[in-house]
């Protein structure tokens, strides 16, 4: 496909639309899911099954006045929510949903997604710093130390997968896993490496995704019972809305990456009819797990969280990296 201006514009618009629709309806799904878990109906008034709730919420948020607290750093304060949303949307451009549905496939797709994910944490720092609020400041420092701690095991597990695939191209990684469930990276019996520790790698990656997206039980950046609303305490209106949507867009990105790296992308578990539908099924199953975990577990502590990363996840993922390297040499 030739890269023309038209193509790029269409790709970006589709990516934005996909991210926005996903973010809006994941809020709905989250609220319905939470309600189901808590034995209450949830939003069910506006439209069938409350499906009109997200657009109405959006309109309400947009109609609100954007207040900037006195003494806040105005430029950073306005830039932070945009920065929260932007990397997530950009990441969608490289994600292959199936053989044909991909905006722009790059041979360093993995690297690009991680680069943008790292950019996301600056938005938390900006928001906390510019709000001039002690709660927001504390929350953003927590969130940044957490993101730094969890990016390392996440990258190491990704390198393991990249080593197995021999490529940083997301398409190529999926192609390597084509076949049935047994050739996916999570159970690589027929894959290139016969590493029995891959399920553990998958769990590490999934845990890191939870932590990276600031989701419960790792939602220390917005621990509402301690830090009021965390880094977005001072945000109202669409500023808050963008943070909110950014969070859900990041969840989608994290689940997409998990699907591509470990669950064989658009491949079918039985080797039949590979296609975008399998990708979508896997993606939403992972997201449902996110919601399920959030409404079941209490929050961890900040030291428990950092200890988990530095003392358990990093050594384990490093060991697995070495083990995989050894296996690749042997087989």
């Amino acid at each position: 496909m030739r890269l023309t201006l038209f193509n790029v514009v269409v790709a970006v618009i589709i990516a934005i639309a996909f991210a926005a629709v996903n973010a809006a309806y994941l809020v709905w799904a989250e609220r319905r899911g939470a309600a189901r878990i808590q034995r209450r109906p949830g939003p069910n008034i506006n439209g069938p099954f409350g499906l009109l709730q997200p657009p109405l919420d959006g309109i309400k948020l947009m109609a609100k006045q954007l207040t900037i607290p006195g003494g806040a750093d105005k430029i950073l304060f306005i830039a932070a929510p945009v920065l929260a949303m932007f990397p997530a949307i950009m990441s969608f451009v490289t994600i292959p949903f199936s053989e044909n549905i991909v905006a722009k496939n790059m041979n360093v797709g993995v690297l690009m997604i991680f680069a943008f994910a790292a950019l996301g944490s600056t938005s938390l720092l900006f928001a906390g710093w510019s709000s001039r609020n002690k709660y927001a400041m504390m929350a953003s420092i927590r969130a940044v130390s957490q993101t730094v701690a969890y990016e390392i095991p996440m990258l190491i597990t990704t390198i393991t997968v990249v080593m197995i695939a021999g490529s940083m191209d997301l398409m190529e990684i999926v192609h390597q896993q084509s076949g049935s469930i047994l050739s996916w990276n999570i159970f690589p019996l027929f894959g290139r490496s016969h590493n029995i520790l891959m399920p553990m790698s998958f769990l590490i990656f999934f845990t890191c995704t939870l932590a990276e997206t600031n989701r419960a039980p790792f939602d220390l950046g917005e621990a509402e019972s301690e830090l009021v609303a965390g880094f977005h305490t001072e945000y109202g209106s669409m500023g808050f809305g963008l943070f909110f949507m950014g969070e859900y867009a990041n969840i989608v990105i994290g689940s997409c990456m998990t699907t591509i790296l470990f669950l064989g992308g658009w491949g079918c578990p039985f080797g039949l009819f590979p296609g975008v539908w399998w990708f979508i099924i896997k993606l939403y199953l992972l997201i449902a797990t996110f919601i399920w975990i959030r409404w079941t577990f209490p929050r961890t502590t900040i030291y428990g969280l950092l200890n988990l990363s530095w003392k358990i996840l990093i050594p384990l993922s490093l060991f697995n990296l070495l083990f995989t390297a050894g296996l690749l040499k042997v087989f």
């Binding site: 019972s225 209490p298 929050r299 502590t301």
Partner: protein, 372 residues
Amino acid sequence: MSSPIQLKPDETFILNVGPQHPATHGVLRVKMEMNGEYIVNAETVIGYIHRMHEKMGELKTYPQFLMNLSRMDYLGALGYSHGHVLVVEKASGIEVPERAEYIRAIMVELNRIASHLFWFGAFVMDLGGFSPLMYALQDREHILDMLEAVTGSRLTYCYFRYGGLYNDVDDQFVASARKFIPRMRKSLKKYHKLVTGNVIFRKRLEGIAPLSKETCRKYGASSAVARGSGINFDVRKNEPYSVYPEFDFDIPVYHECDSLARYNVRMDEIEQSLRIIEQGLDKLPGGPIMPEKKPKIIKPPEGDYYQAVETARGSFGVRLVSDGGKTPYRLKLRSPTYSNMHLFDESCRGMLIMDALAFMGSLDLVIPEIDR
């Protein structure tokens, strides 16, 4: 966890937790001097909803003041009326029929379970888990329905009268209370499975905020705060009142002294309250609910009277000084949360803010009861 660094005074900052903060569950303000996330010093500031209940007690006649007691603690209101009713009956020598005493005990225990259930939900919510609150509220709803059917209100009951009760219980209440007991036991099992056994939950409470026996004694702590620190004190056993000596129940005492111990005490207390209700329903005698002979105007003879009761939040004492008139000369309300809360200032020093707020949750604070 304690702060390893020695600080100069200008290296800390002041964090105002409250009066409008999700963790304080009411209008309590805690002025915290912080070093990053560590608390160097904390000072609880109370009085935001002071309503002069004690003064009102001196100005109003006894029956007029009766409804004020249930406004002290909106979660376990019946226990507070019980204390007041008992002290006035003691002072003016009113005999209470046995049936009324049994119904009072059953009601107070039901109310205690409702209060503990709400605390359980709110406490887990403080730790970031939302769903248990909804489950707990559903169970609490059954209790409130039962209490509403008999007392006429759901939260601020005015059910006890000097000498008896306002309303007798009917068969429907007895039947629904009997049905409630096994259902609550089943729910308790579920809570233990869902919350008590959770790794994250235990990690957050084990060894957090140890309170020594001495600290508890120094501040006059009672309820689960004292019993979680190994002090075997419960007014129902130590200074028995009403018909409590006739019931067979245990006082759960834990010696770990940490937040988890306080949690465990309250969860076990729900089970013990269920036992009391079960026995109360079995033994419930017939007869009147109001005494036949009762003074028209309550005028306790001159003297100094005191009665303590065990409410959901601890030992609640009422001291009544009467000069023989229609209104008391002095009415002192010793509220348990007031003592329990003041532990916080001393004990939270050097703790992380998130541990400190979990600790605050384990104290089970109800702010209107502190400010009264």
